[in-house]
């Protein structure tokens, strides 16, 4: 395979068969729920049935999934090399869950402590977690947090509500905090 072919046709990686099996199991679950989760009315045309497109898409997922597994099975001599390290790859996926948790805590914190404090806390704490712990790095992280708030909430007025904590600020400051920060 030459360079540009490789560019168009990426290599298989450890863990892909595991992923396809899990995804296929999900598709089979959806297929098993087709009868209860979609409606079929006796009077309407087939293409106008509410069940038609869910059926087409879920059946497609199942068919393509099985076809992929069949290809992997028939080429199993090459797939054994890629199945090495599948477990460590799956563990790598779990590492991302930590950052999902960080993100969800940030989401919960914004309506309580406000967008500006929550963002600055989030960027500084996450920077520290990632090993950026010098004063300069933490200040940069805080500045990035402030910058993001200034651009989006103060500048572009995106719809992010003020924090519950802002209610305890003096009247004039409270209005400014709710509108701009």
């Amino acid at each position: 395979m030459n360079k540009q072919d490789k560019h168009l046709q990426p290599d298989a990686r450890p863990g892909d068969t595991f992923f396809i099996i899990a995804f296929l199991a999900f598709a089979l679950f959806l297929l098993s729920q087709l009868g209860t989760e979609t409606k079929f009315s006796a009077s309407g045309k087939l293409f106008a049935q509410p069940r038609f497109w869910p059926a087409v898409s879920v059946a497609g997922m199942v068919l393509f999934g099985f076809a992929h597994l069949a290809i992997v099975f028939f080429n199993r001599s090459s797939s054994t090399t890629t199945s090495k390290g599948a477990l460590s790859e799956v563990l790598n996926w779990a590492r991302a869950l930590e950052f999902l948790l960080w993100f969800l805590i940030y989401v919960q914190a914004v309506p309580i402590i406000g967008y500006l404090p929550a963002t600055v806390l989030f960027t500084v704490l996450l920077a520290a977690r990632q090993g950026y712990r010098s004063r300069r790095q933490l200040t940069t992280a805080a500045a990035v947090g402030v910058g993001i708030v200034l651009v989006f909430k103060t500048g572009l007025s995106v719809r992010i509500p003020g924090g519950a904590i802002y209610e305890y600020l003096p009247q004039t400051l409270r209005n400014i905090a709710i509108i701009y920060f």
């Binding site: 298989a12 959806l30 979609t38 990632q130 992280a141």
Partner: protein, 496 residues
């Protein structure tokens, strides 16, 4: 003339000019940062543009889309790391040139080829407009259904070596679009009794999860990378002169970019592959390819920069996005009740021409910016990747939360972030999911409408455009199976 003055009037506003500047300069900077890319930036900015006028929002997003590939060439040439995925082929020629001490020449050639590709495709778009204005109204429900179906088939077949997985992902996208209350009989589909699923899964939430949050996870989980590039000394205009020596390659590559950009589901990678292969086969020095060939560099950059303007053709003329970025832009149209499709060319041609002019201005602005700021942009490359991950994750919150202030949207986006992270780790395709979601909705609505007037299956293709599209679908599928059979035959003969 009146049309031109009306279009210029649309653009002659401070907010449009500001959007053009921010989009083009921002796009170059984002493109120059390896690991971010236009898709992440557009996904994050999308909800912020909903409060802006459509022309302002679209100009900013188009600016990012059109200019990111210019910026992406800088790290591709200087540090062997493509700024955006579509600059990957540029590394094959740009890095060897840098190693030979020709970094300035490589950058200059990349800028000039990108400019040529970008302007060439806008000119093609302008020339094609009268034809599109005539053809677009001939697209009724069944033609749009067939064109969408062709888009789904092409996006699946474009993923060579991963066709089954791409098909699976496209079907997953179509399924995602069916979740919630369906619009005809108002029955619930796959809501599992959950009220938060009744409204369906929002495209923007999925896009942000799959592109932005997943990329943040990739950057946060993988080891920190810090790159350093040497400063460039001297002017960067010489490439424009040198490009004239390779005008055949530049023109052919830009033409491939336009042709592939226009076809839904194909895009930059195929355009680059075809133009690079053409440039290599037609070159007097094919042995230089992969070792710093200026022709290879021009082929790669001209082709990928010709795609954005061309990709707007199916979106504007038919309302069918050809790839993920135009699918995101489609939502900007919908939010403002501007329905792209045949009616847009008939009723709002000044708006369409204004977008073309904005695209043209964008290319000029970007080149001027790059000629003076390349050395400053090298600082952006030095940002540690994990720090970028923090920034992308923080920005992703703005994108998702500002939609409806819904923590559930954030949780769904987070879940798609994990899903996208796994797909990226495994090198599996993401784009078919987005196109499946968008085109699945279009196909469902158009098939339902068109089948009302169809009595026999042959009635479905009894109009010229429908018949041509049907033949194209058959030809695409048949040529794919023929290609498969040929490859299998070659493999067997090689084994023997």
């Amino acid at each position: 003339m009146e049309l031109l003055s009306d279009s210029l009037a649309i653009l002659a506003r401070w907010d449009v000019v500001a959007a053009l500047l921010v989009g083009s300069v921002g796009g170059v900077i984002i493109g120059a940062i390896p690991g971010v890319g236009a898709a992440v930036a557009i996904a994050i900015l999308l909800p912020a543009t909903f409060s802006l006028d459509p022309i302002v929002g679209l100009t900013a997003l188009l600016g990012i889309y059109g200019s990111s590939m210019y910026g992406g060439a800088i790290p591709a040439i200087l540090i062997n790391t493509p700024g955006t995925a579509v600059n990957a082929l540029t590394t094959y020629e740009g890095t060897p040139m840098t190693k030979r001490g020709e970094a300035r020449r490589a950058l200059s050639l990349a800028y000039s080829a990108s400019f040529f590709g970008g302007v060439f495709s806008v000119i093609c778009l302008i020339l094609l407009s009268p034809v599109l204005a005539k053809i677009a109204p001939m697209f009724g429900s069944r033609e749009i259904f067939l064109a969408s179906l062709l888009g789904v088939i092409l996006v699946v077949l474009a993923h060579r070596g991963q066709i089954m997985i791409a098909g699976m992902m496209a079907c997953f996208g179509i399924w995602l679009n069916t979740i919630g209350l369906e619009p005809i009989q108002y029955s619930q589909r796959y809501t599992f009794g959950q009220s938060w699923l009744a409204g369906g899964v929002d495209l923007i939430v999925v896009v942000l999860g799959l592109f932005a949050i997943s990329q943040a996870f990739v950057l946060l989980v993988e080891p920190d990378k810090r790159s350093k590039a040497e400063s460039i000394t001297g002017g960067l205009l010489s490439g424009f002169k040198e490009l004239a020596l390779y005008k055949r390659v530049a023109t052919a590559s830009s033409s491939f970019g336009v042709a592939m950009g226009m076809i839904p589901g194909v895009g930059e990678f195929t355009a680059q592959f075809m133009s690079y292969t053409y440039a290599q086969k037609s070159s007097k020095t094919p042995e230089q390819f992969g070792n710093g060939s200026p022709e290879g560099l021009i082929a790669s950059e001209a082709a990928n920069n010709a795609v954005p303007a061309a990709a707007m053709i199916p979106l504007l003329a038919l309302g069918i996005p050809g790839e993920a970025l135009t699918a995101m832009m489609l939502s900007v149209f919908y939010v403002h009740n501007v329905v792209p499709g045949p009616g847009l060319f008939q009723n709002q041609m000044d708006f369409v021409v204004a977008l073309y002019i904005a695209l043209l201005m964008l290319n000029v602005l970007v080149v001027i910016f790059l000629l003076f700021s390349t050395n400053i942009l090298l600082k952006v490359i030095e940002i540690p990747t994990r720090f970028l991950g923090i920034v992308v994750l923080t920005l992703s919150f703005v994108g998702v939360y500002s939609l409806r202030n819904s923590p559930i949207d954030c949780a769904i986006a987070g879940a798609f972030g994990i899903f996208g992270f796994i797909l990226k780790r495994l090198n599996l395709p993401i784009v078919p999911i987005i196109l499946g979601m968008v085109l699945g909705g279009i196909m469902e609505a158009k098939l339902r409408t068109s089948m009302m007037r169809v009595k026999t299956p042959l009635d479905f293709i009894d109009r010229p455009i429908a018949f041509i599209l049907f033949l194209i679908i058959l030809a695409v599928v048949a040529s794919h199976f023929y290609g498969m059979a040929q490859r299998r035959k070659n493999t067997r003969s090689n084994i023997k």
